[in-house]
Symmetry: C2
Amino acid sequence: MTSLKNLESFTCPLPLRDYRNIVMGHGGGGKLSHDLVQHLFAPLFDNPLLAPLNDQAVFAVNGARLAFTTDSFVVKPIFFPGGNIGDLAVNGTVNDLAMSGATPLYVSAAYILEEGFSLDDLTRVTVSLAKAARRAGVQVATGDTKVVEEGHGDGVYINTAGIGLVPEGVNIGAANARPGDAVILSGAIGLHGIAILSQREGLKFDSEIVSDCAPLYDLVAQMLQVTRDIHTLRDPTRGGMASTLNEIAEAARVGIEIEERAIPVPKDVAAACEMLGLDPLYVANEGKLVAFVPSELASAVLEKMQSHPLGREAAIIGRVVAEHPGMVIARTSIGGTRVVDMMVGEQLPRIC
Amino acid sequence: MTSLKNLESFTCPLPLRDYRNIVMGHGGGGKLSHDLVQHLFAPLFDNPLLAPLNDQAVFAVNGARLAFTTDSFVVKPIFFPGGNIGDLAVNGTVNDLAMSGATPLYVSAAYILEEGFSLDDLTRVTVSLAKAARRAGVQVATGDTKVVEEGHGDGVYINTAGIGLVPEGVNIGAANARPGDAVILSGAIGLHGIAILSQREGLKFDSEIVSDCAPLYDLVAQMLQVTRDIHTLRDPTRGGMASTLNEIAEAARVGIEIEERAIPVPKDVAAACEMLGLDPLYVANEGKLVAFVPSELASAVLEKMQSHPLGREAAIIGRVVAEHPGMVIARTSIGGTRVVDMMVGEQLPRIC
């Protein structure tokens, strides 16, 4: 453990890919975000809870195994097809709890308001936040409000932290993926990111693309009824499926192979991505999960997922291999293979 | 409990003192902040945890009594005499836990960074945050980083949430103050607010005024060794002593009488306040607490506090009365009395 004395002499751990100042990509969930965590935060906050680099910490307090997580939401625009920053702030955090198998219990809600933000909009956002909390079965237990001058915020930013209870015998983490595991995706990708982007850029499609923002705990609870032996769960938000799979490959020191054809991409999302030069594998989702389960359990878990409203389009999209640890390889629809790298910078800033 | 249907028809609860938009005072910790909580957040998040309007929620999970709190920090400037936003973010949150008598265990750290913020400053802030966490005996268990464009932030904002464990037999809350209780203040007031203000405005005094930013749990633990029958603890941050005492008077439906002469105000703070037209009772502190204890225990608790480095100047500054419930009355140094009202707007914006 780093001593306090070592902290005194800690200097900026450059090269953090040679940036001296923060750029948008440091918040993008890709390589630059990773560098900050691995070279700055993790060494300074040095503790075994942060080491697994999961989206939540799990620890025991008086015998209760708790999951604890935090996320700030700076999505732009605040209101978008399928939701707003209020329900996003609840779902994002309860999903991070659910990805450890925890039952979400309590969330906090801390607002940073910009001077001049309308009370009507604050009310709309807060109504959505309250409704999302009830839908997810959590209580908003504590909160905070700060106000910053005009030009130092953007209407409203919301931080939520969450506490959940991890059931006995459940031990889910990015590092637990094992060769042989099946990789199951709960549904179509790209909806949240493209919904935000089309709203922001005024793009029109045949039908409106709506964010998939939803609480995933209930789906996870169903999956845990099939087996407690789920190795890894992740919701591919910022950085999309590509970054999520790379994080898991790295944490578990395994290779991952996916079949591009097996990944459900809605027609409109595919069209939008083609038009905008985006790869759907890098686009954010807010109501999807990937699960790594032992292959012999895969079809039972898949079936259970498909019987849930949030898992109807669930599909096995790949498998874990012992080869090329740390790498994600996609078999393309025309039969070739390509390396799916982690996103480097920022594809869509302020997506959540 | 408000039904989901009622939520649908919830509209902006104006008049929130007749503002249609957010003003700086909504973040000041005074009446406007209170209005937001009481007329907007509390009805929407309707639950028994929020009802006592403490700075933390206390609930049981699998038999463990947990305290849970959150605070966002937007202090300006980020670096000030006696600390920076990093240690402030830890101390503010561990103190909110300590004010329930809880042992602080875990904190989260969520950064909202502005594009262009220097990595050197981020490192300095994070080193301070890490050191403060070690000093307070808590682990930084989980975190988040978001980046917003230049002109939509102010260098760095930090949210911390915290989890603590409340010992058996401890039941501390604003509503528990009782007529007859002695009101004990742990030390001199006004230091944090005036330190920030002098830094911001470039004011010079005979000696530098330094923020009192410090973790108070150890002091509370000492006090709890004397008795578990402490009724109320609060750290008078935003809104100062005046707002804190008014909140307690209102929550417990009691009157509070204080002796102005008994309240330690450092000479430089008094001089600065006179010059700036401020009342020290409304200036923020970040390392002080007020305790409400049964009068027969007051001298034992006081003595214990005075033997602690953070309580050396502790003093009994008043008492709780059954008369004028909800009101705070000060006996002035020249023998008169005055009503000490809650702050209405914002005395010093972005103080924490």
